[in-house]
Symmetry: D2
Subunit: 341 residues, 4 copies
């Protein structure tokens, strides 16, 4: 049995780790930290897990966490994870960080987040399907939600060297913005609305560029996010401009389907779809459903991907990484259908 800790367990990703780990056959939540809520039951913040966990929030040292746990999920804000990670690693645990602190090179991180990195460490980017080396990592930087949906949609095409440019237009449920009420999350503002934001400057862009450029140097990437009146889910519309040389070759659905199926042949959580993906098909699950369609007589391929931002886009993927790190089948505890309707 793997003993796990959740550092910073009061937010949505913490709650989702608890939900998913409640039925994991090989892992057990040993402790959950919160400085503010020490001694309060986990269910005081997460009433949905009442009855399944009897623990209270704790506030142990990194040393004590390492003594009691094999793997630690850090689910604290970016800029705060770097306060925890070095001590946890030094004390001998392995860490899966759900913040942005260990996803990018130092230079790109500091430029993107506008803060100095206090504790650079070698880390593996935890987009599991693209980074099997997480299996032996001490530290995993778990990807952002948008980069997960966007990168998975296009990675096989990028690897095949047939893409000039991708314009990603993503639509996310509002849970991606967290558990704290804001102007945007105020029901009368969000309902019956679609809210584009950071049209050209979202902080997840460098993650997408990092991953796709690695597969296809020189690929051009643009990204615009929106929130829609939905709690969970990210639907990414990738407008892919195919390069001239490749167009005639890959125009047929069969060739494209082969590119995807070869690339993802061992990826249990990628489901190629013959019909339009639905957010309900992935809701609550770790699946990423993908569909594509070529524009007749043009160079545009439209790829659609659907994930649950809190599962494949955060806590589920973190557990998938944990499974690999622990030598388990990636599906362990995660082989759950979507919740439809």
């Amino acid at each position: 049995m793997i003993n796990v800790a959740i550092v910073g367990g009061t937010g949505y990703t913490g709650g989702e780790l608890l939900r998913l780990l409640a039925n994991h056959s090989e892992a057990k939540v040993e402790l959950v930290t919160s400085r503010k809520l020490v001694g309060k039951p986990l269910s005081s913040v997460h009433p949905h897990i009442k009855g399944l966990y009897s623990q209270n929030f704790e506030s142990p040292s990194a040393k004590e966490i390492a003594d009691r746990c094999d793997i630690v999920f850090t689910a604290v804000p970016h800029g705060t994870a770097m306060d925890w990670v070095p001590d946890l690693l030094n004390a001998g645990t392995r860490v899966i960080d759900l913040s942005a602190d260990y996803r990018l090179s130092i230079e790109v991180f500091e430029k993107t987040y506008g803060i100095k990195h206090k504790a650079p460490k070698e880390a593996v980017f935890g987009l599991t399907e693209l980074h099997p080396e997480v299996a032996s990592a001490k530290l995993v930087g778990n990807p952002g939600c948008y980069p997960t949906g966007a990168t998975l949609a296009v990675a096989p095409l990028a690897k095949a060297g047939i893409v000039d440019r991708v314009i990603f237009d993503s639509k996310s449920g509002i849970s991606g913005a967290g558990a704290e009420p804001t102007e945007t999350s105020h029901y009368p503002n969000m309902a019956e609305n679609v809210i584009p934001y950071r049209l050209t400057t979202h902080r997840h862009v460098p993650e997408i560029k990092q991953e796709l450029t690695r597969l296809s140097p020189g690929i051009r990437i643009n990204f615009t996010p929106h929130v829609v009146p939905s709690v969970r889910g990210i639907l990414t519309t990738a407008h892919v401009i195919i390069n001239k040389e490749a167009i005639d070759r890959i125009r047929g659905r069969t060739e494209l389907a082969e590119i995807y199926s070869n690339f993802y042949k061992n990826a249990h959580f990628i489901r190629m779809s013959d019909s339009m993906p639905k957010l309900s098909s992935v809701r609550g699950s770790n699946f990423c459903d993908i569909y594509f369609e070529f524009e007749n007589g043009d160079d545009r391929l439209v790829v659609i991907s659907a994930i649950d931002n809190l599962v494949k886009g955060a806590s589920g993927q973190a557990i998938q990484n944990m499974n690999l790190m622990a030598g388990l089948d990636e599906r362990t505890g995660l082989w759950l259908p979507g919740m439809a309707p």
Copy 2:
């Protein structure tokens, strides 16, 4: 032309007064106050009115307001209206107060709101259909949203003396809670949910009791509110227990229909319905749609009313009161259909 002022024009009721008055043929918004936003355009807070109003927020004295305006809408929080009303009245304007400060007797107000009333004044309860005397009022206490929907649903039955008890179960859109983000209004909390609150102690209960007891001394009233995933609208389900003597007499639909049509014969905004009222039929409008059904073999009559909480439940009713105070047809500027779908 009536010159009107809106004191406290940054909230939902202020924005709705602006929306509705933009096309009022006999009234003109002369000024809108906000201490915090003096000099900023009204559209900085209310982008929906951009192009229709070019004014900026102001912060004049009560005296100046009275000099420039004939009627003042006070759309400030309860407890604050009483700071404005005496000066406005003394300076010679008439006031329609959308807060709770002038709806109840002093005793009931102080007990309900837990604060001392600083400036009691004679006021008419502005449920227009029940209080034609608003026409000559200096000060109108515009009713709460729940009391409007609840009282209008049952007033004719109460007047007819056939009701023992009413259990009101109301479902409101979340805009009733105002423009400030809260835990409850946080989209992931409100979406896909129904939130009962203050199950037995909502502050609107005394208004309902005041009005129905006036019509039927001894009537028993219970009230439980809920918010539902909707921006606007209140759907009230009134479980009406008919008294024993009346049951056989009023069991037929015809007799009940007559009770309603007689009571509301001059009320343009009450629409008796042969089918289930829809919130979309009253959305954005000043209508109150009412429907009822008797339970076969029992003493329960179920009455359903539908209003837009921000219109008939607040700003629309305030303008209806203004129309009467100015000697106009109550429909002036308000004779708008609902916005469906």
Copy 3:
């Protein structure tokens, strides 16, 4: 391993049985029937389970089903289940019927549904918490969604003999109306709306009366359902009128809490709550969360219950019954947290 069949597996309750059974350690879906879709993969109708089930829909005889399966869920419309049940029982399987065909006495069924019952059989009403005798039943009539939420909310009080009357005001997600598009389920009709229907005549009333009258002869029951803009969940507001003799005795929270905790002491899926139940806390789970509040100075107790209509209100409860019938812990395969947010 229990081999189960789902007869009529294309609707929401069928899909939900598949979702929940995908991770049941002691049961395995052996076959799913659909006359129309024979040979098509289950995922063609239920894309959320793609990858977890590789089967196709089949159309075997009752005899063949009985040969291959230990327990059969009939998830067909009322009036159709009675065509299947006798043959399945004769062939030696046990049946959990999710339709209305075996919930009521013949007389009440025929009066309520307006059709003649073709195949009366002895059945246990499958509200698991109230009917431990399902353990040895050959045939279980799985309760309706509204009766589950309503009865569980009030059963302990009824048993305690302190209730005169209950007026149930229930708010349901629209998935309760099934997978077929209708006027009511049309998004522009349902969004931003609350739809009361069958105000006094819903077909679930006799189930509620049957169960509560059994516990408290003479109790009076009224029920009015509404659909709200939510996919899943039933929030029931029970306006409970306490009888005169009991009022003073049970006014305190403690006494009421004891009544509930004693009644439900072995019921793992009932969670008594100190704060308002949320639909998200039970979403996707088999829990029923209950909260109550006494009205000061009056005889009304307000009880709130929250369930997922498709789980505790249908397929989850069916599996809970299956667990008992198979001698398993009732939690087997169902010990899942709610999905929040």
Copy 4:
């Protein structure tokens, strides 16, 4: 007073014409047709207008319509409008057709809709801001909803000759799909979802190409529509690729702002915005709100437009066209704020 007829008045665009014309000072709805509902009150289909219209549906001949009316709105399905238009024009009325029958050249229409055009007529494309010649038109082909939002967003840039290519990614409320329940509009399918469809082949593409190519021959256009869980509104995200020569010149916000303000200097319903447009700001109104942002160091300009699909995208624009045809100010009867929240 202009007497108007609505041919085919039972759908959403018919209902919206009634809502908007209810307060038009210079126009009066003389008759509304429906073959199926002759003799039934308009409010039987449109309960939101109850009390404002007392008419019944009629089914007169084109000749009679022309005798009684000055202008006719045909709000029937495409393929049906062409059965009405020639007779109406011959009988001497002017026609504003809300179907697709008169928006495109015959060749493009027949190719796009796959049906033969029975009655080609000269018509003006009724995107009012781009076609002042509607003032003297006998027949106006009122644009589709998507083309209105897309074309208005980009027309000034196209006219300025600085655009290479535009990839439109549009998000629409589901009311655009009409009043008939479908799989897509079924609440459990649409809620908590985002549904892309006709990724590369939507029938509105030719309208967008027609208008933008007219302004900028050679411009490349791609378009992908989505429906989101919203009743009304279209939010269009235009990913505009600026041509190389123009990039440095127009990079500044000021130059772009001038391009827009010059192009739209007489267009009252276009509101250029300094902050992100909200669907609530245009809901129920005829406004189109536009915002843009240049991507630093790249050739992409992101333009956002927001309209109400049923107003500026259909019935409001039709009335705007009517106003011009009648020599009125385009704002007459349409100078309404959005309905926020």
